[in-house]
C-alpha cells in the first residue's frame, strides 16, 4: 500500500518537473484557456496554430496576470455533438473561463446556447459568420459573453454594393455558395444592392462539388444582367465562371474575398478578368499589422494567407488582453466586460506582438485603456459582439492582386450606416 503511495508521489514529482522544464518561463501558476477548433480538417489546423502562436507571444511577454497561459485544444470534427462535449469538458474539467471557437456556426451556436452562456464563460470565435448570432445577441440571450472577430459578411456585402454603384451597373445576378455564409451573403447583398438602386435579376445557389454548373449559370444568364456578383469558393467559382464566360456572360464581375486566390485567377485566365473587381476586409494601415505579418513569417515561414488566420490571431489576443485587464481569477463575465477596455478607440494603441502585449500590460496596470491594433484592423465590437473592419477593393493582376480603393474603418461604418 505504502509502496503505491510512494510511487504516486514520485510520479507526480517527475511529471511536475517535466512540466516545469517544458515551459521557458517557469512561473508558479498556469491559467488555462480552452480552444475548440476543427483540427482534424485541413484548413482548421492553421487556425489552431495561429491561436497557439498568439498564446506563445503572450507567454513570452510574461503571461497574463502573472501566470503562464496554457491553451487546451480540442477537436470539433465539425460535428456539433463532439464540439459541444469538448467545450463542456473544457469548462467543467479544466475550469476555463475563456473559450476560443468554434469555426462553423453550426458548432459555435449549440456551444453558446448549451455550454458557455449557462456556465458564464466568454466565447470568442474567429470565424463563425452566421447572422443568427446577431439575432441571438439582440434578444439578450448571449448575456454579452459572445464575440467574434470575423467581420466579412456585412462589410463585404456593403462594399460589393458600393462597387456596383460606382461602376454604374443597373442590374446584377448573384451566385452564392449554398451554406450559411453564402446564404447570408446573398440575402445581405440583395438588401445592399437594393439600397444603392441596383436591381438583382436572379440569385442562384451553387452547391459544392458538382461536375457542372451549367444549369445554375444558365439561370443567372437568362436574366441578362449587366454584371455578376460571386460569393463562391475557388473550386466552384472557377467551374461556374468558366461556364459563365463560355456561354457568353459578361466579364463585369464582382467577387467576394473568398475568390481572392491565385488558383482562381490562373484557372479562369487573366484575359477574362480584366473588368473584374473584388472586395475584402483589409489590414489596417498601421505598424501593428506589419508586425503581425513579420512575426508570422518568422514563425511559420509563410505569409498569413488562409481563411481565418488573422481572425484567429485577433480572437486569441483580444481574449488574453481582456483576461489581463480583468485580473487574476476573473470570471468569464468579468473578462467579457473587460473587452471594452482593450478595444477602446480612445485608448493607447498597442501592436499585435509580444512587445505590444507587454506595453498593454503596463497601461492596464496603470488603470488606462488600450486600443488593440490587430491583424484584422482596429478591432472594435458592437453591442452584439460583432466587428466591423476596414475594406479594400481589388483587381487581379499578373502577379497577384492590385488595390483599387481603400476604405478606412470610419468610411466603412459611415457607408454601412448610409445603407440603412
Amino acid at each position: 500500500m505504502f509502496k503505491f503511495k510512494n510511487l504516486g508521489g514520485v510520479l507526480g514529482l517527475v511529471l511536475g518537473l517535466a512540466m516545469m522544464s517544458g515551459t521557458a518561463h517557469a512561473q508558479d501558476c498556469t491559467t488555462k484557456i480552452g480552444a475548440v477548433l476543427p483540427t482534424s480538417v485541413d484548413w482548421g489546423r492553421p487556425i489552431a496554430e495561429t491561436a497557439q502562436f498568439a498564446v506563445d507571444q503572450v507567454n513570452a511577454a510574461g503571461g497574463v496576470a502573472g501566470c503562464q497561459i496554457e491553451m487546451v485544444l480540442r477537436d470539433t470534427q465539425v460535428d456539433p455533438k463532439v464540439g459541444v462535449d469538448a467545450a463542456k469538458a473544457l469548462v467543467d474539467l479544466d475550469g476555463v473561463s475563456v473559450l476560443l471557437g468554434a469555426v462553423s456556426s453550426g458548432v459555435s451556436m449549440p456551444i453558446l446556447t448549451s455550454v458557455t452562456v449557462p456556465s458564464g464563460v466568454l466565447q470568442m470565435s474567429c470565424c463563425s459568420s452566421s447572422t443568427a448570432f446577431t439575432g441571438l445577441a439582440e434578444e439578450g440571450k448571449t448575456k454579452g459573453l459572445w464575440f467574434r472577430t470575423f467581420a466579412t459578411t456585412g462589410v463585404q456585402s456593403a462594399v460589393g454594393a458600393k462597387v456596383a454603384a460606382d461602376q454604374g451597373y443597373k442590374t446584377v445576378a448573384v451566385m452564392y455558395k449554398n451554406d450559411d455564409w453564402g446564404q447570408d451573403m446573398a440575402r445581405l447583398i440583395a438588401a445592399d444592392f437594393a439600397a444603392v438602386g441596383v436591381e438583382v435579376t436572379s440569385s442562384v445557389a451553387v452547391n459544392d462539388g458538382q461536375p457542372s454548373y451549367r444549369a445554375e449559370v444558365t439561370e443567372a444568364l437568362g436574366s441578362q444582367p449587366e454584371a455578376l456578383y460571386l460569393a463562391l469558393y475557388p473550386a466552384e467559382g472557377t467551374a461556374a465562371v468558366r461556364e459563365w464566360i463560355s456561354l457568353g456572360g459578361t466579364q463585369n464581375m464582382i467577387l467576394a474575398n473568398s475568390l481572392k486566390s491565385d488558383e482562381f485567377r490562373d484557372n479562369v485566365g487573366m484575359q477574362y478578368l480584366g473588368s473584374t473587381l473584388g472586395t475584402d476586409t483589409a489590414s489596417p494601415r498601421s505598424d501593428s499589422a506589419d508586425a503581425f505579418r513579420a512575426a508570422y513569417l518568422e514563425r511559420f515561414d509563410s505569409e498569413p494567407n488562409g481563411p481565418g488566420l488573422a481572425n484567429s490571431y485577433d480572437a486569441a489576443m483580444i481574449a488574453l488582453l481582456a483576461m489581463e485587464a480583468a485580473g487574476k481569477d476573473a470570471s468569464g463575465a468579468d473578462v467579457a466586460a473587460a473587452i471594452a477596455k482593450v478595444t477602446d478607440p480612445n485608448g493607447t494603441p498597442v501592436s499585435a506582438d509580444t512587445a505590444g502585449f507587454a506595453a498593454a500590460k503596463e497601461v492596464l496596470a496603470g488603470g488606462g485603456t488600450v486600443m488593440f491594433q490587430g491583424a484584422t484592423g482596429n478591432v472594435r465590437f458592437d453591442g452584439n459582439g460583432d466587428v466591423s473592419a476596414p475594406a479594400v477593393v481589388w483587381s487581379f493582376s499578373e502577379s497577384g492582386t492590385d488595390e483599387v480603393e481603400y476604405m478606412s474603418l470610419n468610411e466603412v461604418d459611415a457607408f454601412i450606416a448610409s445603407l440603412k
Binding site: S40, R45, L73, D79, K81, D85, S104, S105, A132
Partner: protein, 319 residues
C-alpha cells in the same frame, strides 16, 4: 469536484439521448432486419419538428408556435413517424442493401431540404430561439442539467421497457420470423409488408423522440446536425453493443460515445504539445480501429442477441 459531476451529467445526457436512437434502430435492424441507412433523417425530423413547434417566433421561417413542450416533442415524433410512413411505403419493398441505399438517399435529401428551404427551417443557419422547458423556473445551471438528465433517463428506461415487452410479445416473434425468413412467415398467413412498415415507423418514431430531446438539449438544430456522420455513429453503437439486444444497444451507445469523447479528452491532456494539432486525426484513427476490431473479433457485438423460445410445446404425453 462539482465540475466533474457536472460534466458526467452532461455526458450521460448526450449518451442517453443517443441510446434512445440506437434502441430505435435496433428495432428496425436488430429485430426486423430493415437496413435503415437514413437514421439521421428521422432523428432530424424529430429535432426540427420539436424546435419548430415549441420555439419562439423567428423572422423568415416557419415556426414559433410556442407549443407546450410535451406536445412539441410529440409533434416531433409524429413528424418522424409521418416521414417514415411515406418513406416506408415507397421503399420497404426493397431488401437489404437496396433499402440501405434508398434510405441513405432520403437522409441526404432531408439534409439538403433543410439546408435550402429557408422558409421552412431557416436554411443553413438552422433553427434557434427555442426556450428550454422550465428554464425560467430552474435557471441555466447544474440543477437544470441534472433534472434534464433525469427526464431523459426516465424516457430511456421507458423506451427500453416498451421495446422489451414488444420484442417478447407475439409481435416481436413475428418480427424475427420476418427477419429470418419472410416467405415462411407469409406462408403462415402473416402479412410481412404490413409488419415491416409498422416496425419501421415505430423505430423511426423512437429515433424522432431522440432527435427531439437532442434539439431540446442544445436549444438549436442546423443542417450540420443531420450529416451522415450521425447515421454512422448510431450504427457503430448498435454493432458494437450487439444488434438484436436492447441492453446491448444502450451499452453500445454509452461505450462508443464514451470512447469518442474520452479519446479526445485524453489526447488533449496527455499528448505532447507538438502532437496536439494532430490529435483530431489520431482520434479518428482510434475510433475506426475499435470498430474494425469489433467487426473482426466479435461481430455479434458485446452483448449478442439472446434467442428465446417464447412458447414451449407441450411435452409428449406418455399415454
Amino acid at each position: 469536484m462539482i465540475g466533474v459531476v457536472s460534466y458526467i451529467v452532461f455526458f450521460a445526457t448526450t449518451a442517453s439521448i443517443l441510446a434512445i436512437a440506437v434502441l430505435g434502430l435496433n428495432l428496425q435492424w436488430g429485430n426486423t432486419g430493415l437496413f435503415n441507412g437514413g437514421v439521421v433523417a428521422f432523428f432530424g425530423a424529430g429535432a426540427y419538428g420539436t424546435l419548430i413547434l415549441g420555439g419562439t417566433p423567428q423572422a423568415g421561417h416557419l415556426g414559433g408556435f410556442g407549443l407546450f413542450y410535451p406536445f412539441a416533442l410529440l409533434g416531433g415524433m409524429v413528424a418522424a413517424g409521418l416521414m417514415a410512413w411515406v418513406v416506408g411505403l415507397l421503399t420497404l419493398r426493397l431488401r437489404h442493401d437496396y433499402l440501405a441505399i434508398a434510405t441513405f438517399g432520403v437522409a441526404v435529401a432531408f439534409e439538403n431540404l433543410m439546408r435550402n428551404a429557408e422558409w421552412l427551417a431557416g436554411g443553413a443557419k438552422g433553427v434557434r430561439g427555442f426556450e428550454r422547458p422550465l428554464r425560467a423556473a430552474l435557471g441555466d445551471g447544474f440543477l437544470y442539467n441534472l433534472l434534464f438528465f433525469a427526464v431523459v433517463l426516465l424516457i430511456l428506461i421507458a423506451t427500453y421497457l416498451f421495446l422489451e415487452r414488444l420484442v417478447s410479445s407475439p409481435f416481436g416473434r413475428l418480427l424475427r420470423a420476418i427477419r429470418e425468413d419472410e416467405e415462411a412467415a407469409q406462408s403462415l398467413g402473416k402479412s410481412p409488408s404490413k409488419i415491416r412498415l409498422t416496425a419501421f415507423i415505430t423505430g423511426s418514431v423512437i429515433l424522432g423522440l431522440a432527435g427531439g430531446l437532442y434539439g431540446t438539449f442544445y436549444a438549436f438544430v442546423s443542417p450540420q446536425d443531420v450529416l451522415p456522420t450521425l447515421t454512422f455513429q448510431i450504427w457503430a453503437m448498435l454493432i458494437v453493443g450487439g444488434a438484436g439486444n436492447n441492453k446491448g444497444a444502450i451499452f453500445g451507445a454509452f461505450l462508443i460515445w464514451g470512447a469518442w469523447t474520452t479519446s479526445g479528452w485524453a489526447l488533449s491532456r496527455f499528448a505532447p504539445v507538438e502532437a496536439q494539432l494532430y490529435t483530431g486525426s489520431v482520434q479518428f484513427i482510434l475510433i475506426g480501429s475499435v470498430i474494425v476490431g469489433m467487426l473482426m473479433w466479435r461481430p455479434q457485438g458485446l452483448l449478442p442477441e439472446r434467442l428465446v423460445v417464447s412458447q414451449r410445446g407441450n411435452p409428449p404425453s406418455n399415454e
